[in-house]
Amino acid sequence: MAERTTSKAPPGGLKRWFEERYGLSKVREWASHKTVPVHRGSVWYYFGGVSLFLFIVQVVTGVLLLLYYRVGVESSYESVRFIITKVPFGWLIRSIHSWGANLMILAAMIHMFSVFFERAYVKPRELTWVSGFLLLLLAMGFGFSGYLLPWNKLSYFATKVGTDIAGVLPWAGGFLLRFLRGSEDVTGATLSRFFGFHAAILPAIFTVILTVHLLFVQVQGMSQPHLKKPSTKPPMPFFPNFVLRDLLLWLMVLNLLALLAVFFPWELGDKADPFASAPAGIKPEWYFLGAFAVLRLLPAHILGIAGDLLGVIGIGLGLVFWALFPWWDRHAPEGGRKAWAVAIGVIVLLSFSLLTYWGWRAS
C-alpha cells in the first residue's frame, strides 16, 4: 500500500520533499538489499517478530488501560472491575493485555531456544543474545509486577509468596524485600511501587534494550546457521517477502488474542483482603512455575544451609550461566554444533518444561 501511494505522488511532490530531507531512497535501497536466509530452520526467525508484535500490542493495550486504571488499595480492584464492566470494550482490552503478556513471554522463550539450538549466539552476536535474554527477564518482571495490579486475592498472595523469596537471601535479603514491597508486608505501598515498575521504569529500560537488540540484528543481519549441508536456496528478500509473511503471522496472532479474550476472558476474582487466610490454589504465572517448583521441591535444609536459599542462589547462578553462554561455547567447528552445548540446551528445556508441569500440577 505504502508503495502505491508514494508512486502515485506527483513527481516533485511529497516524495521529493521527503527525499530531499531524509534520503528515503537510501532506506529503500537498504531494505531492498536486506535478505533473510532460507533453510529448514527459517520458520524460527518469525518468533522474534511475533514477540515484537505482542510487545506492541502490550504497549497499546497498556496505554489504553492507563486511561481508567487507578492505582490504590481502594481503587485498583474497583477500577479494573469498572474497566471490564462499564467501559465499552474494556473487557477486550484488559483480556488482550493479560493474554498478550503470556503469549509474549511464550513467543520470546521459543525465540530464545530457537536461537540457542541454531547456535545463533556465537561471535559476533554475543551481545544480541545477552540483550535478548535481558529482555526476557524484563518481560517476566513486567508479568510479575502487572499480576499484582488488579489487587485481587490470588495476585495478592502470589506476590506475597513471590517477594518472600527475595527475603531468603543473606545480608541483602531484608533490604531487597523492603525494596520490592516498599514496606514490610505486601501493602498499598507495594501496589504503587509495582505500578511504577510496570508502567514507567520497566518500559523505559525495556525500550532501550529492545532498540539495541533490534539495532544489533539490523547491523549484523540474520544469523546463518552452520549446517553440514548448506542450504542451496537463495536468500529471501526482507522486503516485501519476509515482511508480508511476518504480517500474515501477526494477523493470525491477533486473531488468536481476540479468540482467547472473547472465549476465555481473563478472570478478575475477588478483591484482595490482607486479613483473609491465603486461598487454595495460589500460583504464580506459568513462567514462574518452574522456579516455584524448584523451591518447593528442595528440602528445608541441605548440609545445614536453608534449602530455599540454595534454590535462589542456584537459579540465580543458572541465569547468569545462561546469559553468558556465548562465552562458554566460543570456538565453533565449521558447520557443526558442539554436542555438550546441545545437551545443555536440551537439559535446560526439558527441566524447565518438567518443573513447570510439576509446579502446575502441585498448585
Binding site: L64, E78, R81, F82, K86, V87, P88, F89, G90, L92
Partner: protein, 154 residues
C-alpha cells in the same frame, strides 16, 4: 489457453491490481475493526468513575431541615438526614438488625426502621429496638453548595 500473450499479460496485470485493491480493502477493514473497539473504549462511559469515592446527593438547598433522603451509595442505599438545626448526617441506610432500609422520622427525630421499629439517633447509634449495632457512618462534605457523601476512611 489459446489467448494471445498480450491479453494474458493484461489479465495478470488486472489480477494484480485486483489483489492489491482487495488487500487495500482488507487493510482498511482490519484497521477499522481494531480502531472501532479502541475508539469506543476512549469515549468516557456514562458512569465516569469506578466506585466513585463520593456521591453528589444534590444541592444543599434541596434538603429541608428535619428531613431524610435515601440515595444510592454504590450498591447500597444511603440515607442523608438534615437535622432541625440544619446539620447533615449520612449513613448506610441498612438496618443492622435484618438489613431493611431505614428512614428518617421527623415526628420522632430519629432514624427508624419500619421492619421492627429499630431506632437510631442522628449519630447513627442504635437507641431502641432490635438493632445490635450502630449504622455505618458516611462522611458528608459540602462543596460549592453541593452535598457530597463519601465512605469514611477505614
Amino acid at each position: 489457453m489459446n489467448d494471445p500473450t498480450s491479453s494474458l499479460e493484461n489479465d495478470k496485470i488486472t489480477r494484480r491490481h485486483f489483489l492489491d485493491a482487495a488487500i487495500g480493502l482488507g487493510g482498511v477493514a482490519l484497521v477499522a475493526s481494531v480502531a472501532y473497539p479502541i475508539a469506543k473504549y476512549l469515549v468516557p462511559p456514562p458512569q465516569a468513575e469506578a466506585s466513585p469515592a463520593s456521591v453528589n446527593v444534590g444541592k444543599v438547598d434541596d434538603f429541608q431541615p428535619d428531613t431524610g433522603t435515601i440515595f444510592k451509595m454504590g450498591n447500597k442505599p444511603g440515607i442523608l438526614v438534615r437535622s432541625k438545626d440544619g446539620e447533615f448526617h449520612a449513613f448506610l441506610a441498612v438496618c443492622t438488625h435484618l438489613g431493611c432500609t431505614v428512614q428518617y422520622r421527623p415526628d420522632l427525630g430519629v432514624i427508624w426502621c419500619a421492619c421492627h421499629s429499630g431506632r437510631f439517633d442522628l449519630n447513627g447509634i442504635n437507641i431502641a429496638g432490635p438493632p445490635p449495632r450502630p449504622l455505618t457512618p458516611l462522611d458528608v462534605n459540602i462543596r460549592d453548595g453541593q452535598v457530597f457523601v463519601s465512605r469514611e476512611e477505614a
